[in-house]
Point group: C2
Chain length 222, copies 2
DNA sequence: CATGCCCCTTTGTGATCACAAAAACCAGTA
DNA sequence: TACTGGTTTTTGTGATCACAAAGGGGCATG
Protein backbone atom coordinates (compact mmCIF):
# COMPACT_ATOMS: atom_id res chain seq x y z
CA UNK A 1 0.00 0.00 0.00
CA UNK A 2 2.77 2.38 0.93
CA UNK A 3 5.99 2.65 -1.07
CA UNK A 4 8.94 0.96 0.63
CA UNK A 5 10.66 4.28 1.12
CA UNK A 6 9.82 5.55 4.57
CA UNK A 7 8.38 8.98 4.98
CA UNK A 8 7.86 10.03 1.39
CA UNK A 9 8.00 13.76 1.00
CA UNK A 10 4.58 14.59 -0.35
CA UNK A 11 3.71 17.60 1.75
CA UNK A 12 0.91 18.63 -0.55
CA UNK A 13 -0.82 21.19 1.64
CA UNK A 14 1.27 23.64 3.61
CA UNK A 15 -1.49 24.30 6.14
CA UNK A 16 -1.51 22.61 9.51
CA UNK A 17 -1.21 18.84 9.15
CA UNK A 18 -2.23 17.03 12.32
CA UNK A 19 0.03 14.13 13.15
CA UNK A 20 -1.09 10.69 12.09
CA UNK A 21 -1.60 9.39 15.59
CA UNK A 22 -3.70 12.42 16.38
CA UNK A 23 -6.01 11.72 13.47
CA UNK A 24 -6.47 8.15 14.62
CA UNK A 25 -6.91 9.24 18.22
CA UNK A 26 -9.52 11.84 17.43
CA UNK A 27 -11.40 9.62 15.05
CA UNK A 28 -11.56 6.69 17.41
CA UNK A 29 -12.30 8.89 20.39
CA UNK A 30 -15.33 10.50 18.88
CA UNK A 31 -16.71 7.15 17.80
CA UNK A 32 -16.39 5.84 21.33
CA UNK A 33 -17.64 9.01 22.99
CA UNK A 34 -20.77 9.17 20.88
CA UNK A 35 -21.62 5.52 21.32
CA UNK A 36 -20.95 4.42 17.76
CA UNK A 37 -19.18 1.29 18.94
CA UNK A 38 -20.96 -1.38 20.95
CA UNK A 39 -19.47 -2.51 24.28
CA UNK A 40 -17.11 -5.47 23.94
CA UNK A 41 -16.28 -4.79 20.29
CA UNK A 42 -12.75 -5.98 19.50
CA UNK A 43 -10.30 -3.77 17.63
CA UNK A 44 -6.99 -4.65 16.01
CA UNK A 45 -4.03 -2.41 15.42
CA UNK A 46 -3.65 -3.52 11.84
CA UNK A 47 -7.33 -3.00 11.21
CA UNK A 48 -7.24 0.53 12.58
CA UNK A 49 -4.04 1.27 10.69
CA UNK A 50 -5.63 0.16 7.45
CA UNK A 51 -8.79 2.07 8.13
CA UNK A 52 -7.04 5.36 8.88
CA UNK A 53 -4.39 4.67 6.24
CA UNK A 54 -1.42 4.90 8.56
CA UNK A 55 1.17 2.42 9.77
CA UNK A 56 0.92 0.44 12.96
CA UNK A 57 2.93 2.88 15.04
CA UNK A 58 0.44 5.76 15.15
CA UNK A 59 -2.42 3.30 15.54
CA UNK A 60 -0.70 1.83 18.57
CA UNK A 61 -0.14 5.23 20.11
CA UNK A 62 -3.74 6.25 19.68
CA UNK A 63 -4.95 2.99 21.17
CA UNK A 64 -2.53 3.19 24.09
CA UNK A 65 -3.74 6.66 24.84
CA UNK A 66 -7.38 5.66 24.80
CA UNK A 67 -6.59 2.70 27.02
CA UNK A 68 -4.90 5.07 29.44
CA UNK A 69 -8.02 7.21 29.50
CA UNK A 70 -10.23 4.21 30.15
CA UNK A 71 -11.99 4.52 26.81
CA UNK A 72 -10.71 1.11 25.72
CA UNK A 73 -9.73 -1.91 27.72
CA UNK A 74 -6.77 -4.14 27.03
CA UNK A 75 -6.56 -7.82 27.84
CA UNK A 76 -3.45 -9.39 29.33
CA UNK A 77 -2.40 -10.48 25.87
CA UNK A 78 -2.66 -6.96 24.52
CA UNK A 79 -5.95 -7.32 22.71
CA UNK A 80 -8.03 -4.16 22.83
CA UNK A 81 -11.78 -3.77 22.87
CA UNK A 82 -14.41 -1.34 24.06
CA UNK A 83 -15.05 -2.01 27.72
CA UNK A 84 -18.04 -3.89 29.06
CA UNK A 85 -18.70 -2.11 32.32
CA UNK A 86 -19.95 -3.80 35.45
CA UNK A 87 -22.87 -2.24 37.29
CA UNK A 88 -20.53 -1.25 40.10
CA UNK A 89 -18.31 0.63 37.71
CA UNK A 90 -21.27 2.34 36.07
CA UNK A 91 -22.46 3.48 39.48
CA UNK A 92 -19.03 4.88 40.27
CA UNK A 93 -18.79 6.74 37.00
CA UNK A 94 -22.27 8.14 37.47
CA UNK A 95 -21.27 9.35 40.93
CA UNK A 96 -18.18 10.99 39.44
CA UNK A 97 -20.29 12.66 36.79
CA UNK A 98 -22.58 13.99 39.48
CA UNK A 99 -19.73 15.32 41.60
CA UNK A 100 -17.81 16.99 38.81
CA UNK A 101 -20.68 18.26 36.69
CA UNK A 102 -22.49 19.82 39.62
CA UNK A 103 -19.32 21.69 40.45
CA UNK A 104 -18.82 22.77 36.84
CA UNK A 105 -22.39 23.98 36.55
CA UNK A 106 -22.08 25.85 39.80
CA UNK A 107 -18.96 27.59 38.57
CA UNK A 108 -20.60 28.42 35.26
CA UNK A 109 -23.67 29.95 36.90
CA UNK A 110 -22.29 33.41 37.72
CA UNK A 111 -20.92 33.71 34.18
CA UNK A 112 -24.05 32.55 32.38
CA UNK A 113 -25.42 35.47 30.39
CA UNK A 114 -28.45 35.39 28.15
CA UNK A 115 -26.53 34.35 25.03
CA UNK A 116 -25.47 31.13 26.70
CA UNK A 117 -29.01 30.37 27.80
CA UNK A 118 -30.29 30.96 24.28
CA UNK A 119 -27.67 28.63 22.95
CA UNK A 120 -28.64 25.94 25.45
CA UNK A 121 -32.29 26.30 24.53
CA UNK A 122 -31.41 25.93 20.88
CA UNK A 123 -29.41 22.77 21.54
CA UNK A 124 -32.27 21.44 23.59
CA UNK A 125 -34.51 21.98 20.59
CA UNK A 126 -32.15 19.93 18.46
CA UNK A 127 -32.34 17.15 21.03
CA UNK A 128 -36.10 17.04 20.60
CA UNK A 129 -35.68 16.65 16.83
CA UNK A 130 -33.07 13.96 17.15
CA UNK A 131 -35.09 12.05 19.70
CA UNK A 132 -38.11 11.92 17.42
CA UNK A 133 -35.89 10.38 14.76
CA UNK A 134 -34.82 7.53 17.06
CA UNK A 135 -31.22 8.55 16.41
CA UNK A 136 -29.27 7.22 19.39
CA UNK A 137 -25.86 8.49 18.29
CA UNK A 138 -27.28 11.90 17.49
CA UNK A 139 -28.98 12.00 20.84
CA UNK A 140 -25.79 11.24 22.75
CA UNK A 141 -23.80 13.75 20.72
CA UNK A 142 -26.30 16.56 21.17
CA UNK A 143 -26.84 15.81 24.83
CA UNK A 144 -23.11 16.00 25.49
CA UNK A 145 -22.96 19.23 23.50
CA UNK A 146 -25.58 20.68 25.82
CA UNK A 147 -23.54 19.84 28.87
CA UNK A 148 -20.22 20.86 27.36
CA UNK A 149 -21.61 24.22 26.27
CA UNK A 150 -22.67 24.94 29.81
CA UNK A 151 -19.47 23.72 31.43
CA UNK A 152 -17.22 25.65 29.08
CA UNK A 153 -18.43 28.77 30.85
CA UNK A 154 -16.97 27.51 34.10
CA UNK A 155 -13.49 28.34 32.77
CA UNK A 156 -12.15 25.19 34.39
CA UNK A 157 -10.28 23.20 31.76
CA UNK A 158 -8.84 20.59 34.09
CA UNK A 159 -12.27 19.77 35.48
CA UNK A 160 -13.82 19.68 32.04
CA UNK A 161 -11.11 17.32 30.82
CA UNK A 162 -11.72 15.01 33.73
CA UNK A 163 -15.42 15.16 33.03
CA UNK A 164 -14.93 14.23 29.39
CA UNK A 165 -12.79 11.31 30.45
CA UNK A 166 -15.72 9.99 32.42
CA UNK A 167 -18.03 10.50 29.44
CA UNK A 168 -15.57 8.62 27.30
CA UNK A 169 -15.57 5.65 29.62
CA UNK A 170 -19.35 5.57 29.54
CA UNK A 171 -19.59 6.02 25.76
CA UNK A 172 -20.24 2.50 24.53
CA UNK A 173 -22.45 1.77 27.52
CA UNK A 174 -24.53 4.89 26.93
CA UNK A 175 -25.46 3.64 23.51
CA UNK A 176 -26.76 0.39 24.94
CA UNK A 177 -28.55 2.33 27.64
CA UNK A 178 -30.26 4.97 25.54
CA UNK A 179 -31.32 2.31 23.10
CA UNK A 180 -33.09 0.62 25.97
CA UNK A 181 -35.10 3.54 27.30
CA UNK A 182 -37.52 4.39 24.53
CA UNK A 183 -37.34 8.11 24.93
CA UNK A 184 -39.92 10.25 23.19
CA UNK A 185 -39.04 13.76 24.29
CA UNK A 186 -36.14 15.91 25.31
CA UNK A 187 -34.95 15.32 28.86
CA UNK A 188 -37.08 17.12 31.39
CA UNK A 189 -34.13 18.08 33.57
CA UNK A 190 -32.61 20.17 30.81
CA UNK A 191 -35.51 22.55 31.15
CA UNK A 192 -34.95 22.69 34.90
CA UNK A 193 -31.28 23.47 34.31
CA UNK A 194 -32.17 26.32 31.98
CA UNK A 195 -34.76 27.65 34.40
CA UNK A 196 -32.30 27.60 37.29
CA UNK A 197 -29.72 29.41 35.16
CA UNK A 198 -32.25 32.10 34.31
CA UNK A 199 -33.21 32.51 37.94
CA UNK A 200 -29.64 32.44 39.22
CA UNK A 201 -30.77 29.68 41.55
CA UNK A 202 -27.65 27.76 42.53
CA UNK A 203 -29.21 25.07 44.74
CA UNK A 204 -31.80 24.45 42.06
CA UNK A 205 -29.12 24.21 39.40
CA UNK A 206 -27.09 21.73 41.41
CA UNK A 207 -30.14 19.56 41.96
CA UNK A 208 -31.19 19.71 38.32
CA UNK A 209 -27.74 18.77 37.03
CA UNK A 210 -27.41 15.96 39.53
CA UNK A 211 -30.82 14.64 38.57
CA UNK A 212 -30.11 14.86 34.86
CA UNK A 213 -26.82 13.02 35.20
CA UNK A 214 -28.04 10.22 37.42
CA UNK A 215 -31.48 9.82 35.89
CA UNK A 216 -30.37 7.71 32.95
CA UNK A 217 -27.65 5.76 34.66
CA UNK A 218 -29.73 4.71 37.66
CA UNK A 219 -31.99 2.37 35.78
CA UNK A 220 -29.05 0.34 34.55
CA UNK A 221 -28.31 -0.98 38.02
CA UNK A 222 -31.73 -2.58 38.19
CA UNK B 1 24.17 -1.18 22.56
CA UNK B 2 21.69 -3.72 21.32
CA UNK B 3 22.56 -6.36 18.73
CA UNK B 4 21.23 -5.53 15.31
CA UNK B 5 18.99 -8.55 15.32
CA UNK B 6 15.57 -7.43 16.50
CA UNK B 7 13.94 -9.20 19.39
CA UNK B 8 16.71 -11.53 20.53
CA UNK B 9 15.34 -14.56 22.30
CA UNK B 10 16.91 -14.32 25.74
CA UNK B 11 13.93 -15.10 27.91
CA UNK B 12 16.09 -15.76 30.94
CA UNK B 13 13.41 -15.86 33.60
CA UNK B 14 10.14 -17.63 32.92
CA UNK B 15 8.22 -15.64 35.53
CA UNK B 16 6.12 -12.68 34.55
CA UNK B 17 8.07 -10.22 32.45
CA UNK B 18 6.39 -6.83 32.31
CA UNK B 19 6.50 -5.27 28.90
CA UNK B 20 9.17 -2.72 28.20
CA UNK B 21 6.82 0.20 27.87
CA UNK B 22 5.24 -0.74 31.17
CA UNK B 23 8.58 -0.62 32.94
CA UNK B 24 9.27 2.83 31.55
CA UNK B 25 5.74 3.97 32.33
CA UNK B 26 5.83 2.80 35.92
CA UNK B 27 9.30 4.13 36.56
CA UNK B 28 8.58 7.55 35.18
CA UNK B 29 5.17 7.69 36.78
CA UNK B 30 6.43 7.09 40.26
CA UNK B 31 9.15 9.67 39.86
CA UNK B 32 6.58 12.25 38.82
CA UNK B 33 4.01 11.25 41.40
CA UNK B 34 6.45 11.48 44.28
CA UNK B 35 7.86 14.81 43.23
CA UNK B 36 11.29 13.60 42.22
CA UNK B 37 11.26 15.76 39.10
CA UNK B 38 11.07 19.53 39.25
CA UNK B 39 8.34 21.34 37.28
CA UNK B 40 9.44 22.35 33.80
CA UNK B 41 12.15 19.69 33.52
CA UNK B 42 12.60 18.62 29.89
CA UNK B 43 12.70 14.97 28.92
CA UNK B 44 13.80 13.37 25.66
CA UNK B 45 12.71 10.08 24.20
CA UNK B 46 16.24 8.99 23.47
CA UNK B 47 17.34 9.92 26.96
CA UNK B 48 14.57 7.90 28.55
CA UNK B 49 15.19 5.00 26.20
CA UNK B 50 18.86 4.95 27.15
CA UNK B 51 18.10 5.27 30.82
CA UNK B 52 15.63 2.39 30.88
CA UNK B 53 17.66 0.44 28.34
CA UNK B 54 14.90 0.06 25.78
CA UNK B 55 14.39 1.36 22.27
CA UNK B 56 12.53 4.52 21.40
CA UNK B 57 9.22 2.81 20.76
CA UNK B 58 8.40 1.80 24.35
CA UNK B 59 9.74 5.11 25.62
CA UNK B 60 7.39 6.94 23.29
CA UNK B 61 4.42 4.90 24.40
CA UNK B 62 5.12 5.52 28.06
CA UNK B 63 5.52 9.24 27.46
CA UNK B 64 2.37 9.45 25.34
CA UNK B 65 0.44 7.75 28.08
CA UNK B 66 1.71 10.09 30.76
CA UNK B 67 0.90 13.06 28.54
CA UNK B 68 -2.63 11.71 28.15
CA UNK B 69 -2.94 11.51 31.92
CA UNK B 70 -1.71 15.06 32.34
CA UNK B 71 1.45 13.98 34.14
CA UNK B 72 3.61 15.42 31.40
CA UNK B 73 2.98 18.24 28.98
CA UNK B 74 3.94 18.28 25.34
CA UNK B 75 4.80 21.34 23.31
CA UNK B 76 3.53 21.85 19.79
CA UNK B 77 6.80 20.51 18.44
CA UNK B 78 6.49 17.32 20.46
CA UNK B 79 8.94 18.19 23.22
CA UNK B 80 7.89 16.80 26.58
CA UNK B 81 8.48 18.18 30.02
CA UNK B 82 6.94 18.09 33.46
CA UNK B 83 4.18 20.67 33.57
CA UNK B 84 4.49 24.07 35.19
CA UNK B 85 1.02 24.64 36.53
CA UNK B 86 -0.69 27.99 36.70
CA UNK B 87 -2.35 29.01 39.92
CA UNK B 88 -5.73 28.62 38.28
CA UNK B 89 -4.95 25.04 37.37
CA UNK B 90 -3.66 24.25 40.83
CA UNK B 91 -6.87 25.61 42.30
CA UNK B 92 -8.90 23.42 39.98
CA UNK B 93 -6.93 20.32 40.80
CA UNK B 94 -7.22 21.03 44.50
CA UNK B 95 -10.97 21.38 44.10
CA UNK B 96 -11.07 18.06 42.26
CA UNK B 97 -9.06 16.42 45.02
CA UNK B 98 -11.48 17.78 47.57
CA UNK B 99 -14.54 16.55 45.66
CA UNK B 100 -13.27 13.07 44.92
CA UNK B 101 -11.37 12.36 48.11
CA UNK B 102 -14.22 13.44 50.35
CA UNK B 103 -16.45 11.04 48.47
CA UNK B 104 -13.90 8.24 48.70
CA UNK B 105 -13.41 8.76 52.43
CA UNK B 106 -17.13 8.83 52.95
CA UNK B 107 -17.49 5.52 51.13
CA UNK B 108 -14.63 4.02 53.10
CA UNK B 109 -16.07 5.04 56.46
CA UNK B 110 -18.62 2.23 56.92
CA UNK B 111 -15.96 -0.34 56.00
CA UNK B 112 -13.20 1.05 58.24
CA UNK B 113 -12.48 -1.52 60.92
CA UNK B 114 -9.84 -1.20 63.60
CA UNK B 115 -7.09 -2.84 61.54
CA UNK B 116 -7.34 -0.05 58.98
CA UNK B 117 -7.19 2.64 61.64
CA UNK B 118 -4.12 1.04 63.19
CA UNK B 119 -2.49 0.97 59.79
CA UNK B 120 -3.27 4.65 59.23
CA UNK B 121 -1.84 5.55 62.61
CA UNK B 122 1.31 3.65 61.80
CA UNK B 123 1.71 5.44 58.49
CA UNK B 124 1.14 8.73 60.25
CA UNK B 125 3.99 7.85 62.58
CA UNK B 126 6.22 7.30 59.58
CA UNK B 127 5.25 10.71 58.29
CA UNK B 128 6.49 12.27 61.52
CA UNK B 129 9.86 10.54 61.09
CA UNK B 130 10.19 11.55 57.48
CA UNK B 131 9.26 15.13 58.22
CA UNK B 132 11.95 15.46 60.86
CA UNK B 133 14.48 14.33 58.26
CA UNK B 134 13.51 17.11 55.84
CA UNK B 135 12.85 14.42 53.23
CA UNK B 136 10.42 16.00 50.78
CA UNK B 137 10.08 12.99 48.48
CA UNK B 138 9.59 10.67 51.42
CA UNK B 139 6.97 13.00 52.83
CA UNK B 140 4.97 13.08 49.61
CA UNK B 141 5.21 9.32 49.19
CA UNK B 142 4.10 8.55 52.71
CA UNK B 143 1.36 11.14 52.70
CA UNK B 144 -0.09 9.66 49.53
CA UNK B 145 0.19 6.20 51.05
CA UNK B 146 -1.91 7.41 53.96
CA UNK B 147 -4.64 8.63 51.66
CA UNK B 148 -4.50 5.63 49.33
CA UNK B 149 -4.72 3.20 52.23
CA UNK B 150 -7.91 4.87 53.38
CA UNK B 151 -9.47 5.16 49.94
CA UNK B 152 -8.75 1.56 49.01
CA UNK B 153 -11.41 0.62 51.53
CA UNK B 154 -14.00 2.52 49.53
CA UNK B 155 -13.94 -0.30 46.96
CA UNK B 156 -14.26 2.26 44.18
CA UNK B 157 -11.48 1.61 41.66
CA UNK B 158 -12.67 4.07 39.04
CA UNK B 159 -12.79 6.90 41.58
CA UNK B 160 -9.42 5.97 43.00
CA UNK B 161 -7.90 5.93 39.53
CA UNK B 162 -9.28 9.37 38.81
CA UNK B 163 -7.94 10.55 42.16
CA UNK B 164 -4.46 9.24 41.39
CA UNK B 165 -4.56 11.01 38.05
CA UNK B 166 -5.05 14.27 39.90
CA UNK B 167 -2.20 13.46 42.26
CA UNK B 168 -0.02 12.73 39.26
CA UNK B 169 -0.74 16.11 37.73
CA UNK B 170 0.19 17.79 40.98
CA UNK B 171 3.32 15.70 41.56
CA UNK B 172 6.09 18.04 40.42
CA UNK B 173 4.28 21.03 41.88
CA UNK B 174 3.88 19.33 45.25
CA UNK B 175 7.61 18.99 45.56
CA UNK B 176 8.09 22.71 45.05
CA UNK B 177 5.25 23.39 47.45
CA UNK B 178 6.30 21.14 50.32
CA UNK B 179 9.82 22.42 50.02
CA UNK B 180 8.44 25.89 50.62
CA UNK B 181 6.41 25.26 53.75
CA UNK B 182 8.96 24.31 56.39
CA UNK B 183 6.93 21.65 58.04
CA UNK B 184 8.05 20.32 61.39
CA UNK B 185 5.36 17.85 62.35
CA UNK B 186 2.89 15.42 60.84
CA UNK B 187 -0.19 17.09 59.37
CA UNK B 188 -2.75 17.92 62.01
CA UNK B 189 -5.71 16.95 59.85
CA UNK B 190 -4.54 13.36 59.65
CA UNK B 191 -5.26 13.05 63.33
CA UNK B 192 -8.71 14.51 62.77
CA UNK B 193 -9.33 12.00 59.99
CA UNK B 194 -8.37 9.12 62.25
CA UNK B 195 -10.51 10.46 65.07
CA UNK B 196 -13.53 10.81 62.78
CA UNK B 197 -13.02 7.28 61.52
CA UNK B 198 -12.93 5.96 65.07
CA UNK B 199 -16.08 7.86 65.99
CA UNK B 200 -17.93 6.96 62.80
CA UNK B 201 -18.49 10.67 62.34
CA UNK B 202 -19.16 11.20 58.64
CA UNK B 203 -19.57 15.01 58.61
CA UNK B 204 -16.39 15.32 60.65
CA UNK B 205 -14.55 12.99 58.30
CA UNK B 206 -15.64 14.94 55.24
CA UNK B 207 -14.51 18.19 56.80
CA UNK B 208 -11.18 16.76 57.93
CA UNK B 209 -10.39 15.31 54.51
CA UNK B 210 -11.38 18.47 52.75
CA UNK B 211 -9.24 20.52 55.09
CA UNK B 212 -6.25 18.23 54.72
CA UNK B 213 -6.44 18.30 50.95
CA UNK B 214 -6.87 22.04 50.54
CA UNK B 215 -4.61 23.13 53.39
CA UNK B 216 -1.35 22.78 51.50
CA UNK B 217 -2.57 23.87 48.12
CA UNK B 218 -4.29 27.03 49.31
CA UNK B 219 -1.14 28.89 50.19
CA UNK B 220 0.21 28.51 46.68
CA UNK B 221 -2.39 30.88 45.28
CA UNK B 222 -1.09 33.68 47.49
C1' DC C 1 26.70 45.28 22.43
C1' DA C 2 22.54 43.59 20.15
C1' DT C 3 20.60 41.18 16.15
C1' DG C 4 19.95 38.45 12.22
C1' DC C 5 21.69 34.42 9.58
C1' DC C 6 23.57 29.95 8.59
C1' DC C 7 25.07 25.37 9.73
C1' DC C 8 25.25 21.40 12.54
C1' DT C 9 23.21 18.74 16.12
C1' DT C 10 19.40 17.02 18.54
C1' DT C 11 14.84 15.36 18.61
C1' DG C 12 10.15 13.61 17.48
C1' DT C 13 7.60 10.99 13.83
C1' DG C 14 6.23 7.23 11.30
C1' DA C 15 7.18 3.03 8.32
C1' DT C 16 8.92 -1.51 8.29
C1' DC C 17 10.28 -5.89 9.87
C1' DA C 18 11.30 -10.13 12.76
C1' DC C 19 9.60 -12.63 16.44
C1' DA C 20 6.58 -14.90 19.88
C1' DA C 21 2.35 -15.86 21.58
C1' DA C 22 -2.43 -16.09 21.18
C1' DA C 23 -6.34 -17.29 18.46
C1' DA C 24 -8.62 -19.64 14.90
C1' DC C 25 -9.10 -23.46 12.17
C1' DC C 26 -9.47 -28.18 10.91
C1' DA C 27 -9.43 -32.61 10.97
C1' DG C 28 -9.85 -37.11 13.47
C1' DT C 29 -11.54 -39.66 17.36
C1' DA C 30 -14.66 -41.10 21.04
C1' DT D 1 -22.25 -34.21 18.31
C1' DA D 2 -18.52 -32.85 21.45
C1' DC D 3 -13.79 -32.68 22.26
C1' DT D 4 -8.81 -33.01 21.57
C1' DG D 5 -4.51 -32.55 18.84
C1' DG D 6 -1.66 -30.09 15.95
C1' DT D 7 -1.06 -26.62 12.30
C1' DT D 8 -1.81 -22.20 10.28
C1' DT D 9 -3.06 -17.49 10.60
C1' DT D 10 -3.55 -13.36 13.09
C1' DT D 11 -1.93 -10.06 16.30
C1' DG D 12 0.81 -7.24 19.62
C1' DT D 13 5.70 -5.95 20.72
C1' DG D 14 9.85 -3.77 20.16
C1' DA D 15 14.10 -2.52 17.42
C1' DT D 16 15.75 0.12 13.68
C1' DC D 17 16.06 3.58 10.29
C1' DA D 18 15.16 7.69 7.20
C1' DC D 19 13.39 12.11 7.32
C1' DA D 20 11.98 16.85 8.66
C1' DA D 21 11.94 20.28 11.72
C1' DA D 22 13.25 22.47 15.87
C1' DG D 23 17.29 24.12 18.76
C1' DG D 24 21.52 25.94 19.55
C1' DG D 25 25.85 28.09 18.75
C1' DG D 26 29.03 30.81 16.36
C1' DC D 27 29.91 34.61 13.27
C1' DA D 28 29.29 38.67 10.66
C1' DT D 29 26.86 42.99 10.35
C1' DG D 30 24.45 46.93 12.13
Amino acid sequence: MQPPLPRISENKNPEVTPSAHDRVYRGLRSRILYGEIAPGKALTLRGLAREFDVSMTPAREAVQRLVAEGALSMSASGRVSTPELTNERIEELAALRALIEVELASRALPRAHIALIDRLQSINGTIADVVSNRDAVGYIRTNLEFHRTLYLRAQAPAMLAMCETVWLQLGPTMRALYGRLRRTEAPQYHRLIIAALKAGDEPGLRLAVRSDVTQGLRMLAS
